[in-house]
Symmetry: C2
């Protein structure tokens, strides 16, 4: 592994690849001095795009991939036919120790399957989870996981998610004891289905002493009631996309209101700098870059439909995490869990 | 059943009852001439509150209830111990044919259990669903169900929800063929878990010919991609509360931005009428009033934490639905489903 930071990029993943990917790399190359990129993709196409992108050209080398994985390919297909694709090779650069992290805007299911196959989950973790950061009223960001790596999660997986999510939040924010909540339809103990009540019990009894707040509700994401919100990938994905949709809806209503008559237009013009700051604050591109947690390698997922600045934001996440100790944090938490399970087992055997 | 419209009100349900309930009734009584109210609750307390609320006093009669059901009581407890409570009696007024609809801001689980026990589900409906209306970019409102009546739903229940949700939307909006979508983590056919893919197949094959759009994602709620969004009560509750939380978050960011400096304050002042319109548009009280669909009676649920105007909005929903033919709409759809099931069965028997 080289001393400098090396990122592996799937140049062909996403709805508007490779153009927006190269745009993102160009922005990131200007911003992060000393970061180098391995661009996996169609060689001539990527070379062409680099011609007008000097910073990216200087910081990158291209590794030719013979094909790309389409956005609608099933995970199982991706595993059977994905070898030699840009996504497969991009993950491979991390598996082979050539790169510190991989970033792709490609097919989520295929990405997850290939990353699990090539990197394996960390010892003690059942399934990886996709974690996203969401802004909150308290100012800080809330980590939400799983937002779509798995469509279902049993109680044990939810406990895993709590442990890796807490370590992830600590690594990113530096907070000593991030608080953790379990997403449910009510905050009372008897609420929700059996799986989620079992998960709450297991987290409370866990050897990894988390600052566990108990159940939280959907509106607690934006309130910032806790730092880490744990849920299954089905609910998490829908909650996150609902939040994004609502933010866009309100922004649309605001635009409409401010352009509805002459006075409102004048008012908006005068308040323009403040409104622009608000726009940046609510820009979904700024929260782009979800992370597959629980793998032996750093795997960042960009929205498939993002643009250049959005892809650059996903690269930012990869840079920040690669420079943090988040995998060590997770490994320490998981090891504590495994130790206590072993202690329990020997304790039971001795009886 | 009297000719005029009669609403049964649980005066004791909700975080701030009975005050906000009486505030809501006063507003509703002024707005809806000819609507009469039966107020179930603590007699002297309600009488006291009516003293300063002339319109409500004129339009109401009080039915004394000896107790109220607390917000944290389990559904099973509510059934065992709820008899004689304001919620029990309020539902009873509909069961006994004294009132056209019941409105409560009380404990959702208890409300659902008592309403099922006293009103029973409509023939052919497995479980009721709680339906809410949500604003969308297209201008119209989107019906989302189930938003919390059940914590789980199998494929057959999801089909029920599609059928009763479509009829509900048609009754409210007058649209001839509301479009229906099934909430999922992706729009492609292979996405999601088995239950939801089975539900999609069943809806497509159903004798009730719905304008079925297939799978939709979380951001499609605000986009208004379809008129009716079907999901299980766990996911729906979390999606709706996440949307509410996000709307408040953006509103908070906007307030902050507009008060950040002198120029922005001046701009906001000039644009004030437009911004006030926006505030009304995004006021969560305006979307208060979810409906338990699939029962032999009209049952409206207000947010537990609402205020007077919010409770009045829930009463508006009850008035609108009581004057519409929504239960006939649902009954017709369900009857078509039952007829075709019978035809299928006899067809199979003949082979």
């Amino acid at each position: 592994m080289p001393n400098e930071l090396v990122l592996s990029i799937d140049a062909m993943g996403g709805d508007h690849a490779p153009d927006i990917v190269l745009d993102g790399v160009e922005r990131a190359a200007r911003k992060h001095q000393g970061v180098r990129f391995i661009l996996h993709g169609a060689e001539t196409q990527v070379q062409d795009l680099l011609r007008t992108r000097a910073a990216a050209r200087q910081a990158s080398r291209i590794v030719a991939a013979e094909r790309a994985i389409a956005m609608d390919v099933k995970p199982s297909q991706a595993l059977r036919q994905g070898k030699g694709s840009s996504l497969w090779n991009a993950v491979g650069s991390v598996a082979d120790g050539e790169a510190h992290a991989v970033v792709s805007a490609g097919n989520t299911g295929a990405y997850m399957a290939i990353a699990m196959f090539r990197l394996r989950t960390m010892a003690g973790v059942h399934r990886p989870a996709l974690a996203a950061m969401w802004p909150s009223m308290r100012g800080g960001k809330v980590a939400v996981l799983d937002v779509g790596a798995n469509v279902q999660a049993d109680a044990e997986q939810l406990v895993d998610f709590a442990i890796i999510g807490e370590a992830y939040h600590r690594a990113i924010t530096g907070a000593a004891h991030p608080t953790v909540g379990l997403l449910n339809v009510g905050s009372e103990e008897q609420k929700g289905h059996e799986e989620i009540r079992a998960a709450a019990r297991l987290i409370r009894e866990s050897a990894v002493k988390l600052a566990f707040h108990g159940f939280v509700e959907g509106d607690d994401i934006a309130k910032g009631t806790v730092d880490v919100i744990v849920t299954d990938g089905f609910t998490g994905n829908i909650a996150l996309k609902t939040a994004e949709g609502t933010a866009r809806l309100v922004a649309g209503f605001l635009r409409e209101a401010l352009s509805s008559n002459l006075m409102s237009r004048i008012g908006a013009l005068i308040a323009y700098p403040a409104l622009r700051k608000l726009r940046d604050q609510m820009d979904p591109r700024n929260v782009n870059g979800a992370v597959f947690l629980g793998l032996n390698g750093l795997v960042v997922k960009s929205h498939g439909g993002t643009d250049g600045p959005g892809f650059a934001a996903a690269i930012d996440v990869a840079v920040q995490l690669a420079r943090s100790e988040f995998r060590d944090e997770i490994a320490r938490n998981i090891a504590r869990l495994a130790d206590s399970a072993a202690a329990d087992a020997s304790g039971q055997a001795a009886q």
